[in-house]
């Protein structure tokens, strides 16, 4: 399957075949991070800008490592240390960067659609590293890769996503990705954090954790996003822990070999008990390892792309 896109903006527009190509490529590239010299020359001479208008540790580190392991030249710009503070618009920032000849823009922004907006106006490839509450496609892809490694196929696997669904771009991207790959998805959380009409995305809705985790192969725990709680959505954190926190006691209702995932950063003791986060069901650090491979695959698949033929060598 060929990937003919300039940009990676979301999971929603990807076909199942495109997702499979990305996962297969990620699987091949994963080995590079295990070598003595963790670097291949593929993107030598290409330039990547990581344009982060929201804080990030994992995603920024992961993209940076993916870029370096493919030998791209990359640098980071964040809103706190750039002309954004002086009032420059997103488009002006992006156009100025392109005027300096760059090949990729990895963008994280608090506004849904911000990456799409600049992708339409730049020749450089744009990769969405999270846009508001809309999508976080590379997170969903690394999650799909982790599940594929675990199960071989996602067809018919039962996944429950627990927590703050309404504010979560990770949930949205994962719902699209998981359902496209044939998994059976339930979302579970307090009614105040459940978006109206989410059933239309092809998921079941549950407000009761005990029932929701029963018989599931995977519990995907979302972070309680304190920065997006515009007040009043949760009566108290203690009540949330009581009703939706994933603890060893809760897991007694789950399958014995259930898998626990979390996109990070974990609020230890809130959505996820430390004993579960570090326990035998958790594949959370494996997700992080896969993140680098998936981002390398995306850079590889979006790169180059001038017309020509494969030369016989």
């Amino acid at each position: 399957m060929k990937i003919k896109r300039k940009d990676l903006l979301g999971i929603e527009e990807l076909s199942k075949e495109e997702i499979e190509t990305i996962l297969e490529t990620s699987g091949s590239l994963k080995e590079i991070s295990e070598r003595a010299i963790r670097k291949v020359p593929y993107l030598r001479g290409k330039t990547v800008v990581n344009l982060f208008f929201e804080p990030s540790t994992r995603t920024l580190a992961s993209f940076s490592l993916a870029e370096k392991r493919l030998s791209a030249d990359s640098f980071n710009l964040s809103s706190s240390s750039s002309s954004v503070l002086k009032g420059e618009t997103l488009l002006d920032t992006a156009r100025n960067l392109e005027a300096m000849r760059i090949d990729f823009v990895v963008v994280r922004h608090s506004l849904p659609g911000a990456p799409h907006f600049i992708a339409d106006r730049l020749e450089a490839s744009v990769i969405n590293a999270g846009d508001g509450t809309h999508e976080h496609p590379t997170q969903a892809l690394l999650d799909l890769l982790s599940l594929k490694e675990k199960f071989g196929t996602l067809e018919g696997k039962k996944v429950v996503i627990v927590g703050d669904i309404v504010n979560s771009r990770v949930a949205r991207s994962n719902i699209w990705g998981l359902t496209k790959m044939g998994a059976d998805v339930t979302v579970c959380g307090p009614p105040t954090l459940m978006p109206y009409g989410i059933e239309e995305m092809g998921v079941e809705v549950s407000f009761e954790l005990r029932k929701a985790i029963e018989g599931r192969d995977v519990i995907y725990v979302l972070r309680i996003q304190k920065e997006r709680q515009m007040g009043g959505m949760l009566p108290s954190i203690r009540e949330y822990i009581e009703l939706y926190g994933i603890t060893p006691e809760r897991l007694k209702d789950a399958k014995e070999d259930v898998i626990i995932m979390h996109p990070g950063p974990i609020n230890r003791g809130i959505e996820l008990d430390p004993r579960v986060a570090d326990g035998k069901h958790s594949i959370i650090l494996g997700q992080v390892t896969n993140g680098v491979a998936v981002r390398m695959a995306i850079l590889y698949l979006l790169s180059g792309g001038q017309s020509g033929e494969v030369s016989e060598a």
Partner: protein, 184 residues
């Protein structure tokens, strides 16, 4: 553009004889199999590598470590490739340091694939020596690269393609020459 088959330059038995001979030459040149490792280049070279390993095992009763190389990320022409070939996994499950690496490919042409493979192997460590074995050498080198072991020399024209077919992938063992005709 049409591609027509021009002829078969090696059949199943000739492919086998060539690979068996190469296996013996490798042992002869290196005085045994002690420090040898075999690395095949995807796709086809990896299967040829397995066969040479097997022929060596039959002669010397030793199991030589075998690895697979995918050189896609080391190519020098990726910006001119419109679609991205699927990258296969590189698997080198041993330390190449101080080893004699026998690098195996199906067809040697411009030498650019071998150049990429040499760079990739050296990223895994510093072997004592790298030797190159190919089933077909068709000439037209663009880089100073020469093979140590050759199955068959096949003089070709620029508008010809040499295709190695092997049972594991194509269902048959043979080497075919095709001619590319550009219509005016």
């Amino acid at each position: 553009m049409t591609i027509k088959e021009k002829g078969i330059v090696m059949d199943e038995i000739q492919v086998k004889r060539a690979l068996v001979r190469i296996a013996h030459e490798i042992l002869e040149k290196n005085k045994g199999a002690e420090k040898l490792v075999i690395i095949g280049i995807r796709s086809r070279g990896d299967f040829l590598a397995r066969r040479i390993k097997e022929y060596i095992r039959r002669v010397e009763s030793v199991d030589i470590p075998i690895g697979i190389l995918d050189i896609t990320l080391y190519r020098d022409d990726f910006t001119s490739i419109d679609y991205k070939p699927i990258v296969g996994k590189t698997e080198i499950p041993f330390d190449v340091k101080d080893k004699v690496v026998i690098l195996i490919d199906d067809v040697l042409y411009t030498g650019r694939t071998v150049r990429a493979a040499l760079d990739e192997i050296i990223d895994f460590g510093r072997p004592n020596e790298i030797q190159l074995a190919v089933l077909v050498d068709r000439g037209h080198r663009e880089l100073p690269i020469r093979p140590d072991y050759i199955g068959k020399n096949v003089p070709t024209a620029d508008n010809e393609l040499v295709e190695v077919q092997i049972k594991e992938v194509d269902g048959v063992d043979r080497v075919v020459i095709r001619e590319v005709e550009h219509e005016n």
